[in-house]
């Protein structure tokens, strides 16, 4: 069963076409990698799917909701983590968890339990009263992810979630992603780290607003006769892109 279906989805800003008729589906429980060079239109596409931006044309259904008519309903079924860290820096770890838990409808006992569980899972129990501002970036990212899935959404959208941290920290972040996927949360993730692309069930590669390749990492590698995803990425973008 598909949780995301798009059909010729496009977004224009004036004369500039940021997203150009993309069509794809994502199945429930899948980890879907959404790759592309900077400026290829990944974030724009993702924002449309999250109900943050209205498409210029095309069709899409996210978690069973139409992205034109049911944007607010979509928001109940998804989690989102932007590339710009967007938790409140002037609130503590626990206050952030409490705020977003509350926003997604967790109440009282349930919310307190959830907060404790998250703190334990993240190993942040001793930092619960620390302002988020003073956490290291890697911890912030893990916290932001946990907050994005606090309400066990159907899909979580991650926009370059691991920018600016070392490979070991990224690896630990991906463990969280796997755990979420194992619980049945579909993961839609943009990245430009090609080692991360290998962790995905399927990846698409966007060039200048279009999806130029979409398959399992292993299938893409054999199709392009490449040793790793890095070579695949270069082959796809070099052939088509201006970058």
């Amino acid at each position: 069963m598909n949780v995301i279906e798009t059909d010729c989805l496009s977004k224009q800003f004036g004369n500039f076409t940021a997203v150009d008729r993309i069509s794809f589906t994502v199945a429930r429980g899948e980890i879907f990698g959404f790759l592309g060079a900077n400026g290829a239109g990944k974030t724009t596409a993702m924002r449309m799917l999250c109900g943050l931006s209205v498409p210029s044309s095309g069709r899409a259904v996210v978690a069973g909701c139409d992205i034109y008519r049911e944007q607010e309903r979509i928001k109940r079924h998804i989690g989102y983590m932007s590339q710009k860290f967007s938790l409140y820096n002037d609130l503590t770890v626990r206050e952030n968890i409490r705020l977003f838990g509350g926003i997604y409808g967790l109440r009282g006992r349930q919310l307190a339990d959830k907060a404790e569980e998250l703190l334990r899972l993240l190993g942040l129990e001793s930092e619960r009263h620390t302002l988020v501002r003073s956490l290291p970036l890697g911890w912030k990212q893990k916290l932001a992810f946990s907050v994005a899935v606090i309400h066990e959404p159907e899909i979580v959208f991650l926009d370059e979630p691991t920018g600016g941290v070392d490979p070991a920290t990224r690896r630990r972040f991906w463990e969280l992603i796997y755990e979420a996927a194992a619980r049945g949360i579909t993961v839609f993730v943009t990245t430009h780290y090609m080692d991360e692309a290998e962790y995905c069930n399927r990846v698409s590669i966007m060039v200048d607003g279009r999806i130029e390749a979409l398959d399992k990492p292993s299938a893409l590698k054999s199709a392009f006769g490449a040793a790793d995803m890095n070579e695949v990425f270069l082959a796809v973008t070099r052939g088509k892109g201006s970058e």
């Binding site: 109900g51 998804i78 932007s82 967007s86 409140y88 002037d90």
Partner: protein, 363 residues
């Protein structure tokens, strides 16, 4: 509704944790209330007056003494000819001239029409205007003392009815209280949403199912409460420092403040919602607040503005609340006298908040 509680909790924590905000909210207003009434005091003393006495009679001397004993005027000199007086204005020694014509006493005794001539240097318009007004009031008084006729200029007597000693602080302080509420409601709320935009935190809210109105409400309520605290503080300062308490009911003031704060917080949020960054928001808010303040009748009387400007003040919410505050504080007006004002301010609140709701997009 419980969601609102979580959002409010967040707003209050953020405001209290801000290094700058709690201080600016409380210290700045109190300083303004202590300083502005003195700086914006239009009370005129020491107006330099030249007198041209052509009558040299007992009555003219009595008039001279009466004018000078009022405390507003300082005698430059007594001249014999008008052009000597004029020369002293040109030399910037006198601000005003009072010419008592020959035969003044004789006409006065017979109960006939008399006149004096007042010339004011209008380069400093306030000084000239107020000086003339004071002088007129004194002359009217003098006239009614000497004859059994009522005072000539009843309009002036009326103006001063509710502020008998022409104490400008009594007049300014209630107005400045309005100014403060406007600043807090308007500016602080302006900076709020747009700062979440700059930090990127609003994305996390926009992608959540929080309804727009609820989010705006969570922004409005804290400033509303802060406004009330501020109003109470400044009413306290007005009482302690200026001995000023409202002649009317404090309840009426709070009722108006409640709606007024909603209006200006709404305006701030509307500006905040449509601005891309804090600079933009700041300048937009500045533009409106300066015009609103200057055209509110707070610093300059509305009825001395040109006709078109007077008409523009009808669209200025500050104007109405300044009037309300002065009427309640000085005249003791009640809700029934102010019902039109109440309706108008309520309308402003509705319009501004509707703009905020339309302007804030979750996408």
């Amino acid at each position: 509704m419980r969601t609102l509680v979580y959002l409010l909790e967040k707003e209050f924590k953020q405001i209290l944790r801000d290094r700058f905000l709690p201080k600016i909210i409380f210290i700045v207003p109190i300083l303004q209330l202590l300083i502005l009434p003195f700086a914006a005091d239009f009370e005129m003393r020491n107006i330099n007056l030249g007198i041209i006495d052509r009558d040299h009679s007992a009555s003219s001397v009595r008039l001279r003494e009466k004018v000078l004993s009022s405390g507003y005027f300082r005698l430059t000199d007594v001249f014999n000819r008008y052009d000597e007086g004029l020369a002293s204005i040109e030399a910037d020694e006198s601000d005003m001239l009072l010419e008592i014509p020959a035969g003044f006493e004789r006409l006065l005794m017979r109960g006939e029409k008399t006149g004096v001539h007042i010339a004011a240097n209008a380069v400093n318009g306030t000084k000239g205007g107020l000086g003339s007004a004071y002088l007129n009031a004194i002359l009217a008084d003098f006239h009614s003392e000497r004859t059994s006729l009522p005072a000539m200029d009843t309009a002036i007597a009326y103006t001063h009815l509710f502020n008998p000693h022409l104490n400008y602080k009594n007049y300014m302080v209630p107005g400045i209280m309005v100014f403060l509420l406007t600043l807090i409601g308007g500016f602080l709320s302006t900076l709020n949403i747009v700062s979440e935009k700059e930090k990127g935190t609003i994305e996390q809210i926009n992608v959540s199912p929080v309804p727009k109105a609820l989010f705006l409400l969570s922004k409005l309520i804290p400033f509303w409460i802060i406004g009330f605290i501020l109003l109470s503080l400044s009413a306290g300062v007005a009482w302690l420092v200026y001995g000023l308490t409202p002649a009317g009911s404090l309840g009426v003031i709070y009722l108006f403040a409640a709606v007024y704060l909603i209006a200006f917080t709404g305006l701030g949020l509307a500006i905040s919602a449509i601005s891309a960054n804090q600079q933009q928001a700041m300048f937009t808010a500045f533009f409106f607040l300066i015009i609103f303040a200057l055209m509110s009748g707070l610093f300059t009387p509305i009825n001395s503005m040109p006709e078109w400007a007077q008409r523009m003040t009808l669209f200025n919410p500050v104007r109405y609340f300044v009037e309300v505050m002065r009427m309640v504080y000085l005249k003791g007006s009640g809700l029934s006298d102010l019902s039109t004002h109440f309706i108008i301010i309520t309308l402003f609140a509705a319009v501004f908040n509707a703009l905020a709701l339309v302007g804030y997009r979750k996408r």
